[in-house]
Structures are given as structure tokens and as C-alpha cells.
């Protein structure tokens, strides 16, 4: 059994609590932490011609922003803290993409924060945490 933990991470408060929990767990188990951030994206959405023209540029900007503002600072502080850490930055459906990351990294545990979408959209479409709890191939810890 591999000793990797995937953490689904964004800029929400719940994600920060999840990070703290994941770090303590990783330290206790001597596990490696994979911090994954998913930029929500569907190849079946609709764009205007201008958006199509700008898409490649925007994508580069979005990737850079996520890396610089979100992932790089966390990676740096965890490395300084002595935790073995790697990051994953991908576009896609959030739950599906996190499952892909788990499979690819061979992790044995997923940790996520509970909030994300508004109450209404969660009711209509189900929350990310809810669908991961049902569909993830490994044990999931949902941090409030």
C-alpha cells in the first residue's frame, strides 16, 4: 500500500482546514502529500467567438495564476516544514479529475474540504464532496 495522500485544494476556508488536517496526518504517517487543484472546465460548454479567440491566452493566464497564487506558496511552506509534497494543476470536472489524480498517483487516501458551491447548486447538482464520497476509489476524509 502506497503512502500518498491526495488533497483537493482551492482558496476556500474549508480547504485550508483540510490542508491543516492533511499535513498533520502526513507527518504522523510519514506520507507524501499530493496537492491537487482543479480548474473547473467542460469541453461541452458554449463560448462566443471572442472567447474562443482568447481561450489559449486565458488558459495560460489561469494556469499561471493558480500556480503562483495558490499552489506555489503552499508547496514552499510545506517543504520548509519538512513535508514531502507535490502539486497537480488540471482542467476538468472537479470530482472526476480528482479521481484521475488518485489513480495516477496511486494514493491511498483523499482529503477534501466540505464547502465549495452555493447551497442551491449543491442541491440541484450534488456537491463535489458528496460525489467524491460516493465515487472515490479510496477512503475519503471530508473536513468541515
Amino acid at each position: 500500500m502506497s503512502n500518498k495522500i491526495v488533497l483537493g485544494y482551492d482558496d476556500s476556508e474549508a480547504a485550508k482546514s483540510a490542508l491543516a488536517f492533511a499535513v498533520s496526518l502526513a507527518k504522523a504517517q510519514g506520507a507524501e502529500l499530493v496537492i491537487a487543484h482543479v480548474l473547473e472546465w467542460s469541453p461541452y460548454s458554449f463560448l462566443t467567438p471572442e472567447e474562443i479567440e482568447q481561450r489559449h491566452k486565458r488558459r495560460e493566464e489561469e494556469l499561471k495564476r493558480a500556480e503562483d497564487a495558490l499552489l506555489a506558496p503552499v508547496r514552499k511552506s510545506l517543504e520548509d516544514d519538512g513535508v514531502t509534497v507535490s502539486t497537480e494543476l488540471q482542467y476538468g470536472h472537479i470530482a472526476e479529475t480528482l479521481i484521475d489524480v488518485i489513480k495516477k498517483s496511486g494514493a491511498s487516501h483523499l482529503i477534501i474540504g466540505r464547502t465549495g458551491h452555493s447551497a442551491l447548486s449543491s442541491r440541484l447538482f450534488g456537491s463535489v464532496a458528496g460525489s467524491l464520497a460516493q465515487a472515490a476509489p479510496v477512503p475519503v476524509t471530508i473536513v468541515p
Binding site: 469541453p43 463560448l47 462566443t48 489559449h56 488558459r59 482542467y91
Partner: protein, 514 residues
């Protein structure tokens, strides 16, 4: 008259109410007159028939081109159809490219530019003049047009521009300049300039005035007659807010609603066909008979053929070059894949959606037949078929759908407005690309184009159907004249791409992900 003056003297508000519509009506008339007189020569040039016949050379030009591409690429529209669907589904998309424009998105955006009033109003015009037989030629033109679209969109992607700041754009003007230079051919720049001029006119015509005009016809059909310039000003204001004000939210909502409208339109048509299932065989009989005998329609069989081909080309824009602009921003390592995807467009637009409109008009009995001979009765001018209530254009389609569901006219009015709007947004983009090719990129030059574009929305809504539809057709077909010349010279490049891709697909070098 005297009575009304008396009344007006008694009541000032009454006077205002009486004169305002009269004034407005005369604005409409003046716009119409000016418009017809200033564009007539251009329309005549494009639609002049072969000497001694009534067959416009431009129709032959499109048919021959579609036939040449169909044969040259070995019936590519049928051979590559399954692979095209596979590409749109994303079977061949590298997951690492997620976040870039997908094939589906490029197709959906290009479709929302072409699925529009051509499918609703244009088809009604075709069967209103050419009879049910026009449908047959329209479907044939749609199937053949798939090869033209394949050719132009492959080239559009191959010779697109990737700018330093990361934005991507292209279109026929760029394959004309770069492609011709690559093959050592002269005149590329000249063709590109000519194409751009026509593209700007097309953006003002079919991509704008025709849309505004028919949207007004539809709205006034539902709420009662009122001056066209009012619709024009409202539309222009919203278009202005989007293309100049950068109000992306409106555009985004439209782009999301339009596909659902399209699906709903086809679903409603299918329900009506289902309700009249016993007449479907008869309707196809009328279509085939009309296609080859042209019995009792204006212009006979040739009339049916001309109408079918004209409206198909106007609706799906195959060979026109506009789709090459829409598709060129997609992220793909293989330009040919975008060609494959684009060939689905004329299929969805013409073979599916236009055919639905035509069938509903025919099956609901909108075209009046002589009860004894079964021939279609012509109206007084002998130029169109008599219809129930004398409807033409979008009103004919509306009447056909409403005869099954009376509330459908409201849904259709909404669909027409949204289709018109999304087509305008798409064409404002195509026109802008041509404009910046001629005058260079820059905020001021772009603003000038956008403002002129909005002015034409008002003109289009205020003018009569006849002159607007003529000019719209002429401008769009003029683009096809230049574009198809370029396609003939550049088609060996597409062939090379096709052969290389097919070989790699067969050898397994190009394979599905997951």
C-alpha cells in the same frame, strides 16, 4: 381629413398619436428606397443569369465547387462522418490539452453563427417560390456543401495566426496570403483584400440586416404592426452593449440558450411530423416530384433547384469562408481534424434543421394546391406560390408551426430573436476580422466597424424584405466567389494533410485516448 384636424385641435395628444406612426412609416419607406437604389447594381451583378437562361451563374459556381471538392476528396463527407463524430465527442482529445477550445466548442460556436433565420425564414422563402421540390435540392446542396466546408476549415486552421500575447485567429484572408505565398502563386494578397471587402458587406447584409429584418417581421407578427426602426434601435442597443460595451453576460446567455432553442425547434417539428405521420410519405412524394418536374411552381424545375441551392448556401454558408474564421481558433495539432468536425455543420444545419422546416410547411398544407390538378397555385405576380393567409418568409414558418400548436408562434418569436441575435454577434466577429485585416488591429479602427455594424441593424429592421434579402444574398455569395477561387488553388495542400492523417490513423499512430 377635416374631421381629424378638428379632432386634433380639440386634443393635442390625439394629434401626436396620429402623426407619429405616419412619420415613422415614411422613415421606413425612405430607408427602403435609398437602400434598394444604392445596392441594386451589386445584386444584379451577382445574380445575373447565364445568357439566354434564367440560371444564375453564382448558383452554378457553388454547385460546381461542392461537386469538385466532393470528388477530389473521394466523398469525404460520407467517409469521414463517423470519425468526425468521434472527434467531437473528444475521443481523440489529449487530456493534457483540457482547458483549450475543444472540437465541440468550435462546432457549437460556428453552428450558432449559421443556425439562424436561414433555417426558419430562408427555407420558407425557398419553398414559397420553388415549391416542395426546392427541399430536395436544398438537402443535396447541404450534403455536397459538407466537402466545401471541410476544405475551407482545414485551411483556416492551418494558416491561422498565433499572436505573441497568445490569442489565435484566422480565416480565408490568411490562407489566401500565406497559402498562396507558400505555393509560389501570385494574387494571394489581392484575393484576400477582395474577400475582406465582401466579408464586411456580408456581415452587414446576411449577418445583420437580414436578421434584424426578419426578427422585426416576427415580432410585429405577434404583437401587431409597428415601425421597423423601433425594433432596429432596440436590437442595435443590445448589440452595441455586447460588442462595444463588452457586456459578455448577454452574449454568454445567448450562446447557452441558442442550442436549446435549436433542439426545441427540431423537437417541435418532429412532434408535428409525428401527428401527421400519415402525410409524410405524401410530403416526400411532393418533394421528389417537385424536384424533377417542378410542376406548377414559379420557374419550374430550374426554379426549384435555384431556390434550393441558394437557400442552402445562405443557411449553411459552405464555401462562403465564414466558418473558416469561426473554426480557426481551435487548439489542435492537426488542422485536418477541424475540417472533419466542420463538415458536420452543413449536415446539422441544412440536412436536419432546414429539412424539418420544409417538411412542416409542406405537411401542414400552407402552400395552396389546386384541388383538381394538385398543382400549386401562383399568386398574382406569378412569382410565389399562394399560401394560406398570404404569408411569406418567417411568417410562413410561423403559420405552419402554429397550425399545430397555436402558442408556438411565441416560442418561435423568441427563437427568432435569439437566433438573429447570436448570428449578429458571430457575424460582427467575422466582419471585424476582415476589417482588421484591411485596416490593422487597434481600438479606434475596431470601434468604427462596430458602430457602423450597429447602424446597419437599424437599416435592416426598417427596410422591406425584398431589397434586404437580395443584398444579403449578394454580399454573402460574393464572398464565395473569391473564397472558392482560393480553395481551388489550395486544395492540394488539404489533400496532402488528409493523406498523411489517414495513413497515421490507419497505422495506429493517431489513436483514441482512454
Amino acid at each position: 381629413m377635416r374631421k381629424s384636424i378638428k379632432a386634433a385641435a380639440l386634443s393635442a395628444p390625439l394629434l401626436l398619436a396620429a402623426t407619429a406612426p405616419a412619420m415613422a412609416q415614411s422613415v421606413d419607406e425612405r430607408v427602403n428606397e435609398l437602400f434598394a437604389s444604392s445596392t441594386g447594381w451589386f445584386v444584379n451583378l451577382i445574380f445575373s443569369p447565364f445568357p439566354g437562361t434564367s440560371f444564375p451563374w453564382i448558383v452554378a459556381w457553388l454547385v460546381i465547387a461542392a461537386t469538385v471538392f466532393t470528388l477530389y476528396f473521394g466523398l469525404i463527407q460520407f467517409r469521414a462522418f463517423p470519425h468526425s463524430i468521434s472527434l467531437v465527442k473528444g475521443d481523440y482529445s489529449d487530456p493534457n490539452d483540457a482547458g483549450e477550445v475543444s472540437h465541440f466548442q468550435a462546432l457549437a460556436t460556428a453552428l450558432s453563427g449559421t443556425v439562424g433565420l436561414g433555417n426558419i425564414a430562408g427555407v420558407a422563402v425557398a419553398v414559397g417560390i420553388g415549391g416542395p421540390g426546392a427541399t430536395f435540392w436544398m438537402i443535396l446542396a447541404g450534403l455536397m456543401g459538407m466537402a466545401s466546408k471541410f476544405t475551407e476549415c482545414t485551411l483556416g486552421v492551418k494558416y491561422r495566426n498565433e499572436f505573441e500575447d497568445g490569442h489565435v485567429s484566422g480565416g480565408p484572408m490568411y490562407y489566401m496570403t500565406k497559402g498562396f505565398a507558400e505555393r509560389g502563386l501570385p494574387m494571394g494578397k489581392f484575393l484576400a483584400v477582395l474577400f475582406s471587402v465582401f466579408c464586411i458587406l456580408g456581415a452587414f447584409g446576411g449577418g445583420n440586416m437580414f436578421q434584424a429584418n426578419q426578427a422585426h417581421a416576427q415580432i410585429s407578427g405577434v404583437v401587431g404592426d409597428y415601425p421597423g426602426w423601433i425594433t432596429g434601435v432596440v436590437f442595435a442597443a443590445v448589440v452595441f452593449a455586447v460588442i462595444v460595451g463588452g457586456l459578455k453576460s448577454i452574449a454568454r446567455v445567448t450562446e447557452k440558450v441558442v442550442p436549446f432553442m435549436g433542439v426545441m425547434y427540431v423537437a417541435a417539428a418532429l412532434v408535428i411530423l409525428g401527428m401527421n405521420a400519415d402525410k409524410i410519405g405524401w410530403a416526400f412524394g411532393e418533394i421528389f416530384n417537385g424536384a424533377f418536374t417542378g410542376a406548377g411552381v414559379a420557374g419550374g424545375m430550374v426554379g426549384a433547384l435555384i431556390q434550393g441551392f441558394k437557400r442552402a448556401a445562405f443557411s449553411n454558408e459552405a464555401g462562403v469562408g465564414s466558418a473558416a474564421i469561426a473554426h480557426s481558433a481551435v487548439k489542435t495539432k492537426e488542422p485536418i481534424t477541424e475540417g472533419f468536425v466542420s463538415l458536420l455543420e452543413p449536415f446539422i444545419d441544412t440536412v436536419v434543421i432546414c429539412t424539418m422546416t420544409a417538411l412542416v410547411i409542406i405537411i401542414t398544407g400552407q402552400l395552396i394546391q389546386d384541388p383538381n390538378t394538385g398543382l400549386y397555385l401562383l399568386d398574382e405576380g406569378a412569382s410565389t406560390i399562394q399560401t394560406v393567409d398570404g404569408n411569406k418568409g418567417v411568417a410562413l414558418t410561423s403559420a405552419a408551426f402554429s397550425s399545430a400548436f397555436s402558442w408556438f408562434q411565441y416560442v418561435l418569436a423568441l427563437a427568432v430573436i435569439l437566433f438573429a441575435f447570436s448570428t449578429m454577434i458571430s457575424w460582427s466577429y467575422y466582419g471585424l476580422k476582415a476589417w482588421t485585416f484591411l485596416f490593422g488591429e487597434g481600438q479606434t479602427t475596431e470601434l468604427v466597424f462596430k458602430v457602423i455594424f450597429c447602424i446597419f441593424v437599424v437599416i435592416g429592421a426598417a427596410a422591406n424584405l425584398g431589397p434586404v434579402i437580395d443584398f444579403s444574398d449578394a454580399a454573402i455569395f460574393a464572398m464565395a466567389v473569391v473564397n472558392i477561387i482560393a480553395l481551388y488553388f489550395l486544395m492540394p495542400i488539404v489533400k496532402k494533410e488528409l493523406n498523411s492523417y489517414m495513413a497515421r490513423l490507419k497505422s495506429g499512430e493517431i489513436k483514441k485516448y482512454s
